[in-house]
């Protein structure tokens, strides 16, 4: 007997497993007795984490390296495997942070875990989408879940505001994406990325017949994506959403969707529209510049921790857009390396912020970090190392990735971008170091010291892993270089 998609399902085994696992969890949650929800969320976190681990193993051991699935709607290649594994790891870390956070904030809804797993699934599908329709469906799938997660604390005004803002602006940018995609479809008659790439082969920027409206379509597409990764002229929503959402969800927002969206950006612009390099290079050049500048100057005026982290992530997005603007394989490799290091640093920063919880609740303002050195010296050292690494001080992981990206920019003769990148990284040093000053060199007044609550084992482990990761990636970076090289090779 002949099946049309016989071998396609083999390529989709990790996603299918994740889907089945989360369906079972959903059934379990609905069936479980009312009134004991807090037990159940912990069960679900354990089982969901196990599910993610198995998915990760299935993904790594999959023998199918390069494949186009489901009638040209999905693709598996080196980049998709790399980014999918990063997405799985980051969700796993978010689960680790949630073990203590959910009971502390009295979030009893088990749907939290289900929605996170669904969002992970959709991000994985987004990374491997190969067609504008599947891309749009995956993006909608992901954002619907994330809107709900942002508004999770219904009785908190900030959280509702975050959910609404995210929803309205997300729907707006999806509209841009659809408009750009439909313009391109109207001009070319295809929605498949590879078909677009083949169609445009050799079409230079001088070809008047196809240029104008394709570039308008490209502009709309890139605006939509830049909205979603919160790059600078379109970053207004992100500090509000990051502040309002529950902190573990903020951590998720600042890691996993960015991983997937950079994968999508690379796939669309390197596979579909590479022959229009000189048109979209300018867009990314401008946005990368603006993000670096806004990220570092905007963060100077912040007084709240989560807003500061939001601005710092805007700055990091700017550095990663440098790699995209180069249009070279080296730039791609730099982006992948940066994404890996960014993931580790962000997880570390958020786990420190979550560990600083006192009896009155979690820390909101930067002043709550005051004299952290006296409260918990180890946490203070960890946070300082992370901040140094985010600023790009040499013997740490953050330096390595920035260094690589700037060199890629220099090789692609984007000198101004590299120089301004270094300058804005110096400015960002200023506020990172002001935080360190706040933690160490502040006059101690014994009255204000509130003891922080004990830290649970999962968070301790996460802190340790990410701390040593930041310290030791610099010592032996060759496996990570090779990983990012292998991921970037799928576009050569």
């Amino acid at each position: 007997m002949f099946y049309l998609f016989e071998s396609d399902f083999l390529g989709l085994i990790p996603e299918t497993f994740l889907l089945l696992g989360l369906s079972a969890l959903l059934g379990y949650g609905v069936w479980y007795e009312k009134g004991r929800e807090s037990d159940m969320t912990s069960h679900q976190l354990w089982i969901g984490g196990l599910c993610l681990v198995f998915t990760f193993i299935l993904l790594c051991e999959s023998p199918l390296m390069n494949m186009i699935l489901c009638y040209n709607t999905l693709i598996i290649d080196g980049m998709s495997a790399f980014l999918k594994s990063l997405i799985l790891i980051s969700t796993l870390c978010i689960f680790g942070l949630s073990f203590a956070y959910l009971p502390q904030e009295r979030i009893k809804a088990f749907e939290f875990i289900i929605l996170l797993l669904l969002a992970t699934l959709s991000l994985m599908l987004m990374v491997s989408s190969y067609d504008f329709i599947s891309l749009y469906l995956a993006i909608e799938f992901q954002s619907l879940g994330l809107y709900v997660l942002a508004a999770l604390k219904r009785d908190n005004e900030y959280s509702t505001e975050a959910g609404l803002k995210y929803f309205v602006l997300g729907a707006f940018s999806s509209g841009f994406l659809l408009f750009g995609a439909s313009l391109i479809y109207g001009l070319t008659g295809t929605t498949n990325f590879e078909d677009l790439g083949l169609l445009f082969t050799g079409v230079g920027p001088t070809d008047l017949f196809t240029q104008g409206s394709i570039v308008v379509g490209l502009l709309f597409l890139s605006v939509a994506f830049l909205f979603k990764v919160s790059a600078a002229p379109f970053h207004m929503w992100s500090p509000d959403v990051y502040e309002g959402a529950p902190t573990v969800i903020t951590a998720f927002f600042s890691i996993a969707p960015k991983l997937a969206l950079f994968g999508v950006l690379i796939r669309v612009f390197y596979l579909g529209f590479f022959d229009f390099l000189f048109s979209w290079q300018q867009i990314f050049f401008f946005c990368s510049l603006a993000s670096m500048v806004f990220g570092s100057f905007g963060a100077l005026g912040q007084v709240k921790i989560k807003r500061l982290l939001a601005f710092s992530s805007i700055g990091h997005v700017g550095y990663m857009l440098i790699g995209l603007a180069t249009g070279t394989l080296q730039g791609l490799q730099g982006i992948f390396l940066y994404l890996l290091v960014y993931m580790i640093m962000t997880i570390n920063a958020f786990s420190v912020v979550l560990s600083l919880r006192t009896r009155e609740g979690e820390p909101k303002f930067l002043l709550d970090l005051k004299n952290l050195n006296l409260k918990s010296p180890i946490l203070a050292i960890t946070l300082s190392i992370t901040l140094f690494s985010m600023a790009g001080i040499p013997p740490l992981a953050g330096f390595l990735s920035k260094f690589y990206l700037f060199f890629a920019a220099l090789d692609a003769s984007l000198y101004s971008l590299a120089i301004l990148g270094v300058l804005s990284s110096v400015i960002s040093c200023f506020y990172y170091i002001s935080l360190i000053k706040l933690m160490y060199f502040h006059k101690a007044d014994e009255v204000e010291l509130k003891p922080i609550l004990p830290i649970d084992s999962q968070k301790g482990l996460l802190l340790g892993l990410s701390f040593f990761g930041i310290l030791f990636i610099f010592l032996y970076p060759s496996p990570f270089f090779l990983l990012s090289h292998a991921a970037a090779l799928s576009f050569s």
């Binding site: 560990s355 918990s376 180890i378 946490l379 960890t382 004990p454 830290i455 649970d456 084992s457 301790g460 482990l461 802190l463 340790g464 892993l465 701390f467 040593f468 030791f472 060759s478 496996p479 090779l482 990983l483 090289h485 292998a486 090779l489 050569s492």
Partner: protein
Amino acid sequence: MGASAALFGGALGFMTQVYSNAVRRLPVLRKPWEHGIAGLVGAGFGVGVINMEERLRVYIEEQTQARSRK
């Protein structure tokens, strides 16, 4: 190479467990079997990284040659 990777990974795992206990303000060597497990996992990780590196080298070599032949 393999032995030193295992040693280094093991030390890293052990240190992670020590750090984790220290940050939680527990006695640093509480439940020593946990440290043992962490060390073993770390050693496995180190060896895994070395193996992965080797595989990736081969893969990149293959792919680059396949592309240059085209």
